[in-house]
């Protein structure tokens, strides 16, 4: 949704120009997800801060493992994945996967629980938390999707 805006000088009372004929406010586009918990910087609880650092470090290491010992290994020898009914990922797709993994690693996101090829030259990252499964799907045609499952139900799907 987009109300087209032209921002004016900070400190003036002037309203962001609203083009009233295109109403679809972006008011909520950048809102933080309700319920997401993140400790603020400079967290006063030292124990919590230490746990957060250890957790972030563990995630980073796990991403490194994915990149170094899985994706790069596939890139060096994609034929290891070849089988009946399986087309292994191309080097191009593996490179996309490495870049995506690096981006999520650098953003401090949790590492996936699994990274596997699909039968059609694609690569699938997945992490699970109870009934919730998040997937980063690198299709062979160059598109990458984020998918969110609740149980077996696909509730969100977007192209990155």
């Amino acid at each position: 949704m987009a109300v087209t805006k032209e921002k004016r000088a900070i400190g003036s009372e002037e309203l962001q120009d609203v083009v009233f004929t295109r109403v679809n406010t972006e008011a909520s586009v950048l809102r933080e997800e309700g319920g997401a918990s993140q400790d603020p910087p400079g967290c006063a609880d030292e124990a919590t801060g230490i746990r957060e650092t250890e957790r972030a470090s563990a995630w980073r290491e796990a991403w490194e493992e994915v990149i170094d010992h899985m994706l790069i290994a596939w890139g060096c020898d994609p034929e290891q994945l070849e089988d009946e009914g399986i087309d292994p990922p191309t080097r191009k797709t593996i490179l996309r996967a490495i870049r995506l993994a690096q981006a999520f690693r650098d953003e401090g996101r949790p590492a996936p629980d699994s990274v596997v090829p699909d039968p059609n030259k694609g690569i699938v990252f997945e992490r699970r938390d109870g009934d919730v499964s998040e997937v980063l799907y690198l299709w062979e045609d160059g598109t990458t999707e984020y998918q969110l499952f609740l149980g077996t139900r696909l509730v969100e799907r977007r192209t990155l």
Partner: protein, 281 residues
């Protein structure tokens, strides 16, 4: 506290401050849909009734999800790996008071109050949306563009509240009850303005209501000072229900939520100003 916003009659106003209403549906991208199909869809409409088109950038997908452990979701929203060549088409009617917005993954129907004329009421706007949705679905089916699978409904009400109506100074902004006021510290700070948002969950995680408050001046020569108050309700369709009736049920829920919220958020004096009356919408 009302357990279901759709229970009972909805509050009604003779002269509400609403200037625009949008009803919309988000759907899974249709694999066969290209930008050319937007023009082809326009051509299925009555050319006399819908003469004006313009291009716009596509709207990003928006999902109300309640999976707190979805730790990749937030970052995934901001990752852009591919250039999306998709476009959005805006089609206006002859009177300039209705607009259809179409793109692969979204269909929206606007009532545009700035063109003049009173608010036609939700029922009327809904009828217009249904007509366009059915036309669009028929088009998608004929052209074999893929299976139409809606995933989110959305309803927006945009209100203009000019200075001199229910408020004259910032100290009058209490007409909107959630607003705590712009503080002033005598001799030190003088409250000037406020822009902000509130977010609410519709019970049973049926969606969310987002309320945005913007204060400023219009850019036209009058430079009228005003509050732009936008209420947007959005939510997923009921599980395993992906048909038109499920879409309309979502829109009705969104509408009822907005209307009740507006009624509750506004002080009595403001409601009187807009001439609140009990009754159905």
């Amino acid at each position: 506290m009302r357990s279901d916003p759709q229970e009972g009659p909805l509050p009604d106003y003779t002269n509400p401050p609403v200037v625009e209403v949008i009803l919309g549906i988000q759907f899974d991208r249709l694999p066969g849909f290209q930008n050319a199909h937007l023009g082809a869809f326009w051509k299925t409409l009555d050319a006399t009734e819908w003469p004006t088109v313009s291009d716009a950038p596509p709207l990003e997908p928006q999902f109300e999800n309640f999976a707190e452990s979805a730790s990749w979701a937030k970052f995934a929203m901001h990752v852009k790996l591919t250039q999306d060549p998709s476009s959005r088409l805006q089609i206006k009617n002859k009177a300039g008071n209705r607009m259809i917005q179409a793109q692969n993954s979204r269909l929206l129907f606007n009532w545009l109050g700035q063109a003049g004329g009173p608010y036609p009421r939700y029922r009327n706007v809904r009828e217009g949306f249904v007509e366009i949705l059915e036309t669009f679905l028929a088009f998608v089916g004929r052209e074999k563009l893929g299976e139409f699978r809606p995933n989110q409904w959305e309803v927006s009400y945009l209100n203009h509240i000019p200075r001199g109506t229910v408020w004259n100074t910032r100290s009058d902004w209490g007409f909107f009850r959630p607003f705590g006021g712009v503080p002033t510290i005598e001799g030190l700070l003088q409250g000037e303005s406020f822009n902000g948002e509130w977010h609410f969950v519709i019970p049973d995680q049926r969606g969310r209501l987002h309320v945005a408050w913007q204060h400023g001046r219009r850019s036209d020569p009058k430079k009228q000072e005003m509050i732009v108050l936008t209420l947007t309700a959005r939510g997923p369709l009921e599980q395993n229900k992906k048909d038109v009736s499920a879409v309309l049920a979502g829109l009705d829920l969104g509408h009822a939520t907005i209307v009740h919220a507006f009624q509750t958020f506004m002080a009595d004096e403001a409601r009187q100003y807009w001439r609140s009356k009990d009754g159905s919408d």
